[in-house]
């Protein structure tokens, strides 16, 4: 498949021996894009410009009329595709242009405990292709919203509570806010009188999670988080057509420019859930979080207006700033079973402060520094 990594197209493919490889989607001859499909099944890629052919391991294996026009002197070994460093965690593929990055498990660190609830609680599968839509918003506003902003829910999404799809206007306060190192953070909606997941899969959840994680999952109402910098996830439990149903999604806030991003959202369902459950979960997902989703539309309108208001030089000249002081007076919990810094009740901006602190750390690193 092809994906974007920090503004550059990347091919991710599995070779004959089952290894996953990732390459810059650029021919090493004159720079043409090699693959234009979102996904597919291919052992080799032939460049549409002059026909250089590369194996899905990156090697250049074919050059039209090579002997004749290069006199047998073309050093094909030096023309392999440019490799991208990738790592996987619970089926998620992470990539970086850094050739010697911090190990992925270390980068995710304590945050794995929370990420597991969304992507590792059972064998999950992606339903259909991802939703993709462009929003005229700076990408960090999305990350900021998912890393810890439950405060907006009762106002921005107030009309949805009126519909009876979620309990009441202050439902979003109950639970926990968590942050860990590396800027990661999430909000946990808790408790939930109903079990949000397929009842018949309890044994699978038990097998995949620690007893403490399983206990939390049992009364989880929702889970919204961001893996620094721009991967977010969401478990949402709503009433659609009079029936409660949860949907789990992960999303990328893909920066296009400072004031534009593409949102790419994947729906995850338990592989062993019933077909009916999967269908209802998709229905809830499309209805709430998708280009036509009633939550999504509320949010993206806000993101767009914030971005527009921050445009140009005026905010800098006047030194206009935002306020991120919510919850500064509070002390973290000491008896929560999960790792990281945990606050009881979600209305705090501690997670956002942690997110931007890490971002600032990276941005202030001297050039040629360790990088991440």
């Amino acid at each position: 498949m092809t994906r974007d990594l920090a503004g550059y197209s990347v091919i991710v493919s599995r070779d004959d021996s089952g290894n996953m490889n990732a390459f810059y989607n650029m021919c090493t001859h004159r720079g043409m894009k090699l693959c234009r499909a979102d996904k597919g099944n291919k052992g080799r890629f032939t460049c549409p410009y002059h026909g250089f052919t590369f194996k899905n391991t990156g090697e250049l294996i074919g050059v039209p009329m090579q002997k004749e026009i290069y006199g047998g002197q073309l050093d094909t070994a030096r023309l392999s595709l440019h490799k991208v460093t990738i790592g996987t965690y619970k089926g998620l593929i992470f990539g970086t242009w850094n050739e010697t990055p911090e190990p992925l498990e270390q980068f995710l660190g304590d945050f794995k405990w929370y990420l597991d609830l969304a992507v590792g609680r059972a064998e999950m599968e992606v339903m259909g292709p991802p939703q993709r839509f462009v929003v005229h918003s700076h990408w960090k506003i999305g990350s900021d919203n998912f890393v810890g902003d439950s405060y907006h829910t009762m106002v921005t999404h107030g009309s949805i509570a009126e519909l009876g799809m979620v309990p009441n206007a202050t439902y979003s306060k109950k639970g926990y806010q968590v942050y860990t190192s590396h800027g990661h953070g999430c909000n946990i909606g808790y408790p939930n009188p109903d079990f949000a997941f397929p009842e018949e899969l309890r044994d699978e959840y038990k097998a995949n999670l620690s007893p403490e994680q399983y206990e939390l999952l049992g009364s989880l109402k929702n889970l919204i988080g961001t893996v620094f910098p721009n991967l977010s996830f969401l478990v949402s439990h709503t009433k659609v057509k009079g029936q409660l149903i949860s949907n789990t999604s992960i999303r990328l806030w893909r920066p296009i420019s400072h004031d534009k991003m593409e949102v790419i959202t994947w729906l995850l369902v338990e592989k062993r859930a019933s077909e009916d459950w999967k269908r209802r979960s998709r229905e809830a997902f499309v209805f709430t979080f998708s280009p036509s989703g009633i939550f999504e539309q509320d949010d993206t309108e806000v993101f767009t207006d914030i971005t527009a208001a921050a445009a140009g030089s005026l905010p800098f000249k006047k030194n206009f700033t935002y306020n991120y002081t919510m919850g500064l007076h509070r002390e973290p919990e000491t008896d929560f079973p999960g790792p990281g810094t945990v606050y009881a009740d979600k209305f705090s901006e501690a997670s956002q402060r942690n997110f931007y602190r890490y971002w600032l750390d990276l941005m202030s690193e001297p050039e040629g520094g360790a990088g991440k």
């Binding site: 519909l163 057509k241 998709r282 209805f287």
Partner: protein, 77 residues
């Protein structure tokens, strides 16, 4: 174009104006009354495929996937 088709085209145009008028006036109940109760309103997610491979849209993911119930809900938020 024969006379019958011209009249049909005209009537359909008028219907669209009427629909637009209801939406402009935020009369969602009035707009809703125009819909057939069995309506299925869907837009599949597009996918980029190579060459002539088709369909170039998904058959299992939608940008919207509405019926009377979800349309009713969405028009009241």
């Amino acid at each position: 174009m024969n006379e019958e088709r011209m009249i049909a085209t005209f009537m359909f145009e008028q219907w669209l104006y009427k629909e637009a008028e209801l939406l402009d006036a935020i009369d969602f109940d009035g707009w809703f009354a125009l819909l057939h109760p069995d309506i299925q309103y869907r837009m599949p997610v597009r996918v980029n495929k190579e060459g002539i491979e088709r369909p170039d849209y998904s058959t299992d993911m939608y940008a919207f996937q509405d019926d009377t119930h979800t349309l009713k809900c969405a028009s009241s938020v």
